[in-house]
Amino acid sequence: MRDSFDELYLQFSDKIYKYFYWQTGDPYLAEDFTGEVFARVWKNWKRFKPDFSQAFLYRVARNLLIDYWRKNKNRNEMSLETSIEAGIEPSYDEDFIEKIQNDDEIRKLRDAIKLLPENLKEIIILRFMEELSAKEVGEISGLTEVNVRVLQYRALRKLREVIKNE
């Protein structure tokens, strides 16, 4: 059981980290969120394992984010209840964080993405950064595949416009 969870973490934790990073723009918060997502999955791994899918993992991440935004609109902190319950102290890959903080391209893109409306930002992250199919993006965001296709076109045009105007 543990081995399959380890494989899952090694395979998907970077993707989930980046999802949170682009969503929040905060590398430390993204690590806290990632740890919390995997602590939740780990806690219920026996139950989740049989029907596990990549989309499911993103749904857990998305719900955590929505919950955070709802509860902490004006505060830059989050509840790490499952991580704390599991006794895991937050830790950060400082070299990696320094790298992404000092990368001009990443900074430029992060600033541009920040200006997109939430629904379009999510499409850009899931569809073009994570390379998920329109169907998977739909499953995660609760949209139809057709809606995702329409929105992805709109999101790309909007991002191009923002980048041009920067």
Partner: protein, 241 residues
């Protein structure tokens, strides 16, 4: 970018009415986005997280499978011991009395001479029940148990004497209608004391007889040796002469 992904995306964007010029521009944006996706957290960092989870799992296992059951077991043992100890002072009709009887049964299987102590305990119970003027049904039952212990197993005259004393005190304290029943028990106790006394006397006499016969045979043995010694002395004297 993955070729299949790109082809699929182009088809989807064309359906939405993308122009060829726009397509190039949008793909520049996509490529810019994709460029940033190659950086990952270090493998060591990820393994450290998994180790933390693993250690937590071990700790959780220790708590859930060893520590908590051990704590529960100790607690139950404590309750059991405390219950058994406090049950020793209980009287018939009280909730812990069956525990007292059970513990007595266990002890007497290991130590049969504990029967004498049980007899004394029953007599103390009779005394307490009489003093407290308790229900005569309970008293009768305890008297029956007392008689049962007395008839079958008790042999220690000191304990029986003490039991008799308890019964006499019980008789003094009891209500009129119970006095006769207690008196019967005292009588049985006295008979038992006499029985033990007779047995002791018989045993004493038989020991005396055994000692006496041992002494007699010892004296006879000595006489034989002396006589033999006397004969040998005489024949030696004759040889010398």
């Amino acid at each position: 970018m993955n070729k299949d992904f790109e082809d699929q995306l182009i088809r989807e964007l064309e359906t939405e009415g993308i122009t060829p010029d726009e397509k190039d521009e949008l793909f520049d944006v996509i490529n810019m986005v994709k460029k940033t996706s190659g950086i990952n957290r270090s493998e060591n960092f990820k393994k450290a997280y998994l180790n933390k989870l693993s250690n937590q799992k071990k700790e959780k296992f220790f708590y859930s499978q060893i520590y908590i059951p051990a704590l529960l077991f100790t607690f139950l043992l404590f309750i059991l011991i405390a219950g058994t100890v406090s049950a020793q002072k209980s009287l018939p009709g009280q909730p812990l009395y069956p525990v007292k009887i059970l513990s007595e049964n266990i002890i007497k299987t290991v130590n049969p001479s504990f029967n004498n102590e049980i007899l004394k305990r029953r007599s103390e119970e009779i005394k307490s029940l009489s003093e407290q003027k308790k229900d005569s049904g309970l008293l009768q039952k305890t008297l029956d148990n007392y008689s049962k212990e007395l008839e079958t197993k008790s042999t220690n005259s000191v304990k029986i004497e003490e039991s008799k004393k308890n019964l006499e005190e019980a008789k003094e304290a009891s209500v009129e209608k119970n006095k006769k029943k207690i008196e019967e028990a005292i009588e049985k106790t006295e008979n038992k004391i006499l029985e033990i006394h007779d047995e002791d006397q018989n045993r004493g006499e038989s020991i005396k007889i055994e000692v006496k016969s041992a002494q007699t045979s010892h004296e006879e043995e000595n006489n034989k040796i002396e006589k033999k010694g006397g004969h040998e002395g005489e024949s030696e004297q004759k040889e010398k002469d």
